[in-house]
């Protein structure tokens, strides 16, 4: 399957998913049901993870329509507007940021429910506000994206947005800043250390190392892993936006994104299920927790491998 197909397959998921997530979330606030709240937060986190391939596959689709991708001045097909594609890309970048932020606060809500049996009110208010903004931005980006290939929904004048070609401007800024790329590389390694360090501690405990430590003590470290993940998502996306043609058809990058999504979903286990949470000092972890720990280590090693192999697999660099 071509990455352009992936974009067509996934590009409705953020908008439709957020409708479902918002309905569940608002219902949970009205009904004051913790289980419904957890379900809605899981939907927000899941949509945030799926939004990563949705965004990055967009540039691959652009390359199919306009050979040369972001760097091509015009598209070979005269019915396709290069400017409209970049307006869509800018709108999508804003929507992506709002969706990822919603996912991050939703994950924090799940972590709070696990730890305190409730999500804090300030966090619920932030999630409600962010999810409304994210839904609006996702729907707008999707509509502009539809206009690229659907003349029946285009207005007489080409759509323009306040942010314009935001992604191209951000990309040019990163490339033009002399210390931009090396700073992002350094931060990417700091984020990686934070993420893998905490994940390994938790997974090794599940596998029988440091059995004297109760799981709730390690669970308290999980937000640091998510902050590491967030650091790497921000820096990684800035790399991508600065030079999408280096990544969007690179086989190592495709595998890295797939494994990041799976590893992110895997990390939900420790905030959702009871098996690990009830482990006291000296307790042996159940088989499921061990299986999740082994798969998490394998998935993150895969992310590390394909991240390191970006310049060596495929011919993008």
């Amino acid at each position: 399957m071509d990455p352009a197909h992936v974009h067509l397959l996934l590009n409705h998921v953020p908008t439709v998913g957020f409708v479902i997530g918002l309905m569940l979330f608002v219902s949970s606030l009205i009904a004051k049901t913790v289980e419904l709240k957890r379900a809605s937060l899981v939907v927000f986190v899941g949509i945030a993870l799926v939004t990563i391939p949705t965004y990055v596959s967009g540039n691959a689709a652009e390359e199919v329509l306009c050979a040369g991708g972001a760097k091509a001045p015009v598209c070979s097909d005269p019915s396709v507007s290069k400017s409209l594609i970049q307006t869509h890309e800018g709108a999508a970048l804003l929507a992506f940021a709002a969706i990822i932020l919603t996912g991050a606060f939703a994950w924090l809500g799940l972590w709070q429910i696990r730890r305190m049996s409730r999500a804090e009110n300030w966090n619920l208010a932030v999630i409600l506000l962010l999810s409304l903004v994210a839904f609006g931005l996702a729907a707008r980006a999707a509509n502009i994206g539809g206009e690229i290939r659907h003349p029946e929904i285009r207005s007489a004048q080409e759509t323009v947005t306040p942010e314009g070609h935001l992604a191209r401007r951000v990309g040019s800024f990163v490339l033009a800043l002399p210390y931009g790329w090396p700073s992002l590389e350094t931060l990417h390694f700091i984020g990686l250390s934070l993420l893998i360090g905490v994940i390994l501690l938790i997974d090794l405990r599940m596998l029988g190392v440091m059995k004297d430590v109760a799981f709730p003590a390690l669970h308290r470290l999980l937000p640091w892993a998510i902050l590491g993940f967030g650091t790497n998502l921000v820096t990684g996306m800035l790399f991508f936006v600065a030079s999408p043609e280096q990544y969007d058809r690179n086989v190592a990058f495709v595998w890295k994104v797939i494994l990041v999504m799976l590893a992110g979903a895997n990390a939900l286990y420790f905030t959702l299920f009871d098996e690990a949470w009830v482990l006291k000092p000296g307790d042996d972890a159940p088989f499921t927790a061990k299986a999740v720990a082994v798969s998490a280590i394998a998935l993150w090693l895969g992310v590390l491998y394909f991240g390191s192999m970006l310049p060596f697999l495929g011919d993008a660099f």
Partner: protein, 40 residues
């Protein structure tokens, strides 16, 4: 601005912001643990 200094300032600034957020979340967990009587 020299390249090394620019990188250092960006990295320190971003890392300090991440550390501050992590510290705030951890403090809220500590407060909740104290209220609930959890010894973690």
């Amino acid at each position: 601005m020299p390249l090394g200094l620019g990188v250092l300032l960006v990295v320190l600034g971003f890392t300090a912001a991440v550390a501050a957020v992590g510290w705030l979340i951890d403090k809220s967990a500590e407060r909740a643990d104290d209220e609930d009587g959890n010894d973690t």
